[in-house]
Amino acid sequence: MILAFEVLSGGTLTIDTTACPTCESKACATVCAEQSPGPVLVIGQDGRPRLKPTLTEVKRGVCTECLGCLLDCEVHGKNAVRFHVPLPGLEAFVASEEAAGRVPVYRK
């Protein structure tokens, strides 16, 4: 079961909630509750995260894009959160630099 929602920056947060009922930490909701203006992710009766605001509200910026759910789920939960945000042109730039022998430090 996938929970996916768009955020203001144009990115998309995707949570594979398959393993969430067995997650003891519920780290995504815990960190989200600390953010102003309040939680975006809450835990439903089935033990999986769900959105508290509407998709439209989230897209308008209710989600502050703190990336807490992404990072805390990785460390304390089931590593179920993925975040994709566009950065147009970066991959092509890196590829062209590499072709010219200018390799970024993180690719060496």
Binding site: G61, E65, L71, V75, V85, L90, P104
Partner: protein, 423 residues
Amino acid sequence: MARLYEYQGKDLLRRMGISVPRGGLAHSQAEAARIAQEIGFPVAIKAQVLAGGRGKAGGIRFAATTEEVRMAACALLGASIHGIPVEAILVEQRLALQREAYLAVTADPSRRQPIVLLSLHGGVEIEETATQDPARVFQAPVNIREGLPDHVARNILRRTPGATSADTLALAPVLCNLYRTYRTYDCKLVEINPLALTPEGPVAADARVDIDDDAIWRHPELGLTPTEEAGRAPTSLEVIAGTIDQDDHRGTTHFVQLDPDGSLTRELGKIPVAFDCVGTGASLTAMDELVPLGYYPVNFADTSGNPSASKMYRITKVILSQPHIQGYLFVSCISSQQLDNTARGIVAALKELFPATGGKPTIPMLFAFRGAFDQEAIQVFGDHGIAASPWVRLLGRDVDEREAALAFRDLHQEWRETTGRPG
């Protein structure tokens, strides 16, 4: 601010009803020759670079024949004006100037309103004129609610020293249209210097148009890329960084490459490092401390105003994509910025860029978190194991910029000795 090239500025003025010389943009000798033949001789050939003092630097040539056009184009294309390579030239009709005037509209922060600057003694020496004889550059504030209708423009011209009745009649429409350009395109500055007073009427012989950065999105028709003003065409990475603030105005990510190809750093004998700061003041102070220690920040970055972690994630990826870097410094000023969010963005980027080590970088990185939630920011690095990296130093609010720079030097030296990398 987004500064337009001369040819772009003239196109804007032409659209707003101000006469400009006939001409076209060329990228080759053949193209320049074709344009010159179409518009007729004599012509002016002008290097298109975002730099002042272009004429004095040899960036403007005149030609009376096709061969002369080719020679001028050959001399200019690929040349460097104030360190900026010339990639295009404007070929346009050479004007028969009788007199030169200066016209500009800009914002006056002290009055908090637009202001018209006008002189009947225009030309390349206008700055000197303004310094030596300020009275010859007439200033008139504009009531932004009233705008600049024809009668107001005429009143301004009547009060302008040296303006005749004929000048008033000729220049009033230009002034009205210049103000209209300023308002329509959200300009910070729109300037004609010189405005050539010819027998056929006033013609804008040059044009400088600076658009307010924050208004670029209102003018997609201009096709501008939202990059920082760097006095040159934006680099690929600057264009990429410019998209980060496109749809999300929560905090800002400013990014300018100071030495895109690393040549300046090599010439200076310095060590290239990537750089990010919260706050421009802290940024400049930290840079000032780094340079005497033998390092050169190959970019300027300011990520302040409480940007989201998502923005920090993206800008960190951009900053670390610069080739040649031998280190990275992040220094925040003491601010109300929520630094744990800042740290999450950086950590997310590091984990993606250095997956084999779980986010631990292969070059020295120093992070000085000073301000709101600084301890939480340092904790984020600890939670993800990155704090345990031998090449990461995390500092708190008890250090100043000099101490941060010195700590980075120690870390870099240790990294160099351990890895055998050249410094």
